[in-house]
């Protein structure tokens, strides 16, 4: 294990620190609350030359990701960050990056989408873009955000994966709150993360046609390859976390974090910072003899369907708590969890969908306690409800 420094950082500052350690060649970004302080810190690092990167001030998020795609196409390591409307504005380019197999790493500050206008956190921005071919991870705190950024380059640039990756931090709750963070040493990160190598780039000695057309006879094959690549990340994520743990002593639990699920009758499944509110409730109810548990989804794509089936196998009732809704049906996380369970041959638990935290609405300890009570109460026929 290598020696680490400690620093008191916000989630955004932890991301910036992680990006500096990963040594990107090109950073292109457009400011948007609550992402702004990430790129302010990075701009300062480039100015004081503690980060040797090309920093591009672009006129929009669409241009920010386009610039990263162009830089990635000459073999550069790239970073961008955005949030909410900015993420949606670059939606077209998200498909370009994943289809072209350019492993851009992006931080997204989860924030509600208009209207009504609101700058506070929910996850409707990134969850509405699950199908754009990116790997999506959700952090719980600043330390995990920093570690995910460093791991993201190893995962996204892996030859079996070559797929861009989005690290999601809950707006304000993670991006703007401060905590003591361990900073890996530069030597450690250099050993963990070798320079980016790819054949998928512009090379004057071996000229290639880049970003070409593929008609109906060939196009689907490229989509099959993309699907394979994202599925390959299932193993690459685990291998990367193991290497990271050996070098830096912080171990992560793969695509989900499962707490007390082995014998739990009532389980809440959620993602992001709210898991930090569920954890003490689970521990308190456990101390009173209640068999409750928590599944925190760390990756939405690739989706941890096997892990979720295993964790929920013995539960009587499961509540999926999410800051998202697909209007007219249910939350997207619930749809994904439900689909994973439908592939199971064992008896299904009762599944409920708790929609909360939209537009930054607070989710309190008391709310979580009520949700566990709801899971224990008899079935009233309602599946989806706002909390």
């Amino acid at each position: 294990m290598m020696l680490e420094q400690k620093a008191f950082l916000s989630g955004n500052e932890a991301v910036a620190a992680g990006v500096r350690l990963a040594r990107p060649h090109v950073i292109a970004a457009y400011p948007i609350t609550p992402q702004t302080t990430v790129i302010e810190r990075l701009a300062e690092m480039v100015e004081d030359e503690s980060l040797k990167a090309e920093y591009l001030n672009v006129e929009s998020e669409h241009s920010a990701l386009s610039a990263c795609i162009g830089a990635s196409a000459v073999g550069a390591r790239t970073f961008t960050a955005t949030s909410s409307q900015g993420l949606l504005y670059m939606a077209e380019c998200l498909h370009y990056a994943s289809g072209g197999r350019f492993p851009v790493v992006m931080m997204n500050a989860n924030r509600s989408v208009a209207l009504p206008w609101n700058i506070y956190g929910d996850q409707r921005d990134s969850l509405s873009l699950l199908d754009c071919g990116w790997i999506q991870a959700y952090a719980e705190n600043a330390q995990e955000s920093l570690d995910l950024i460093i791991q993201a380059y190893a995962i996204a640039e892996h030859p079996d994966v070559l797929t861009p990756m989005m690290i999601n931090l809950d707006g304000f709750v993670i991006t703007h709150t401060y905590e003591l963070v361990s900073l890996p040493s530069q030597e450690g990160v250099d050993a963990f993360l070798p320079p980016f190598q790819t054949v998928n780039k512009m090379d004057l000695d071996h000229p290639m046609s880049l970003a070409f057309t593929a008609g109906p006879a060939y196009n689907q094959a490229f989509k099959q390859l993309q699907h394979q690549a994202v599925l390959s990340a299932l193993k690459v994520i685990l291998d990367t976390e193991e290497r990271f743990g050996q070098l830096f002593g912080r171990n992560y639990s793969g695509l989900i974090e499962s707490i007390h699920c082995e014998d739990a009758e009532f389980i809440i499944v959620t993602l992001g910072s709210v898991a930090g509110t569920v954890k003490p409730v689970v521990e308190r109810l456990r101390s009173l003899g209640e068999r409750v548990g928590l599944v925190r989804i760390r990756y939405m794509r690739p989706f941890p369907d096997r892990e979720i089936r295993k964790a929920l196998a013995g539960a009587k009732a499961v509540g999926v708590l999410e800051k998202d809704i697909s209007f007219g049906y249910e939350g997207t996380v619930f749809t994904n969890v439900n689909s994973a369970l439908m592939r199971s041959k064992v008896i299904q638990p009762r599944l409920l969908n708790f929609i909360g935290g939209l537009g930054g609405k607070d989710i309190s300890v008391a709310d979580i306690e009520r949700l566990f009570l709801r899971l224990k109460s008899p079935d009233d026929g309602e599946t989806v409800g706002f909390i």
Partner: protein, 101 residues
């Protein structure tokens, strides 16, 4: 102005492993031949053709080649059978034949 003629050495990918990493490939432009769009094909009558090259100029897909010694040649891999060349030919040297599909 014309499409490059298809290289005889080009082998279309048959299985996933034959595909390039990403969308970068030496001269790779995985277009399909558009021949299946066509219900009728233009045919040039070499005897009537005055080699005025109007058809070469107006072909919207640039599939009439002016590089063939002694006359014009239609690239049937990409001709979509619109018939503009036959309509515009002042010598009535181009007629449309059914593909017989």
């Amino acid at each position: 102005m014309n499409y490059p003629l298809r290289q005889n050495s080009f082998k279309p990918p048959e299985k996933l492993a034959d595909y390039p990493v990403g969308t970068a490939f030496p001269a790779g432009h995985l277009v399909d031949t558009n021949a299946s769009w066509r219900s009728r094909r233009p045919v040039i009558d070499a005897e009537k053709c005055s080699n005025c090259r109007i058809c070469w100029l107006i072909c919207p897909d640039g599939v009439i080649h002016n590089t063939t010694p002694g006359g014009l040649e239609i690239d049937y891999d990409y001709c979509k059978g619109c018939g503009i060349c036959a309509k515009e030919c002042r010598q009535n040297a181009i007629h449309m034949e059914n593909e017989g599909i």
